[in-house]
C-alpha cells in the first residue's frame, strides 16, 4: 500500500497528516462544549453515535490571535490508541505519495517533540503526530 500524506489548511497554516490515520472527513459537524474539558481539546461532536473529542490544533500550529467565531468547515476524524479524535480544518489541499517528499526533524532550537517537517516541492509543512499529541495531553 502506498503511504500517503494529506496537506491540510487551518487558519492559513498548512500542515501534513499521514493518510493512514485518517478515518473520515466530515462537513461540519455540530460541535458542543462540555465543562472542564482537559486542556488541549476544544469541544466534542457526534460521530457514529459516539461523543468524540475535538483536538485544539492552535498551539501545535502556532495559531494565535482572536479565536474565530465561525467553526472550520471540515473535521478530520483521526484514529489514535485512545480512540477517535476530530481535527478541525478549513480545507484539504492535496494528497501526496509520501515518497514524493522528504521528512526532516524540526528546526534546530525548537522544543523537543516539535513536529517533524514534511518537505514537498521546496516547502516545509509540519507533519503532525496526532497520536503523540493526544498521549501528551493531561486527562
Amino acid at each position: 500500500m502506498i503511504d500517503k500524506v494529506a496537506l491540510l489548511a487551518l487558519a492559513g497554516k498548512v500542515f501534513a497528516l499521514p493518510v493512514s490515520g485518517i478515518e473520515h472527513i466530515l462537513d461540519g459537524p455540530r460541535t458542543f462544549l462540555l465543562p472542564l474539558m482537559p486542556e488541549g481539546y476544544s469541544g466534542v461532536f457526534l460521530y457514529r453515535d459516539e461523543v468524540t473529542p475535538i483536538l485544539n490544533l492552535s498551539r501545535l500550529l502556532d495559531i494565535s490571535g482572536t479565536p474565530r467565531q465561525d467553526a472550520p468547515p471540515l473535521t478530520v476524524i483521526y484514529g489514535c490508541d485512545s480512540g477517535l479524535v476530530g481535527l478541525p480544518v478549513d480545507m484539504v489541499l492535496r494528497v501526496i505519495d509520501r515518497g514524493r517528499g522528504s521528512e526532516e526533524m524540526g528546526a534546530e532550537g525548537e522544543d523537543q517533540g516539535g513536529p517533524r517537517q514534511f518537505v514537498y516541492e521546496g516547502a516545509r509543512y509540519p507533519l503532525l503526530d496526532i497520536e503523540a499529541q493526544v498521549a501528551s495531553l493531561p486527562r
Binding site: P35, Y41, V44, L46, E50, V51, V134
Partner: protein
C-alpha cells in the same frame, strides 16, 4: 408516568444538563428578587420560610458568567443529601421522558478525572448533556459555601 421516569433539561452558558426529576424540588422563575448577584457570590433562597444555600454551579464548572439577563434566570432547588440547595440556570428546556435520553461514555481521551463534578453524559436530541448528579456535585464543593 411517574416522576422517576422523567428528566429536566436545563442550560448554563449554552451547555446542556439533565437532572432526574426525583432530585428536583422546585423551579423558581424570575430570580431578579435575589438581588445583586455576583457570579462568584454565595447567596440564599427562601424556601417556605427557610433559608437555603444558593451555590454557584457556573463557577464550579468554569462556565462563562451570566449568559442570560439576570431577569430571565431561574433557580433549580435540588434535593441535597443534607437538605435542599439551589443553583441558578440560564434556561430550562423542559421535562422529558427517560426514553428521550441515551447514556454515552465520556471520550477515553478525557480520562477519569475524579475532581470533575460530573462523570456521565447522555444524548438528548443528538446533543450531549452533562448528567447532573446532585450527590456528586455536593462532594468536594468545598470553599464555595
Amino acid at each position: 408516568m411517574g416522576l422517576v421516569a422523567m428528566k429536566l433539561v436545563f442550560r448554563i452558558a449554552g451547555v446542556g444538563f439533565s437532572l432526574p426529576l426525583e432530585s428536583l424540588i422546585e423551579v423558581r422563575e424570575g430570580m431578579e428578587e435575589v438581588g445583586e448577584i455576583l457570579p462568584s457570590a454565595s447567596d440564599c433562597l427562601n424556601l417556605r420560610g427557610d433559608s437555603i444555600p444558593l451555590r454557584d454551579l457556573r463557577r464550579r464548572l468554569a462556565l462563562p458568567d451570566f449568559f442570560a439577563d439576570r431577569g430571565t434566570l431561574k433557580a433549580l432547588i435540588l434535593a441535597g443529601s443534607d437538605g435542599p440547595w439551589g443553583i441558578l440556570v440560564d434556561r430550562v428546556e423542559g421535562i422529558f421522558s427517560l426514553a428521550d435520553f441515551r447514556p454515552k461514555a465520556l471520550p477515553l481521551a478525557f480520562g477519569g478525572n475524579e475532581s470533575r463534578p460530573y462523570d456521565r453524559i447522555e444524548l438528548w436530541r443528538d446533543e450531549p448533556l452533562v448528567v447532573c448528579d446532585v450527590l456528586k456535585l455536593e462532594t468536594g464543593w468545598g470553599d464555595d459555601d
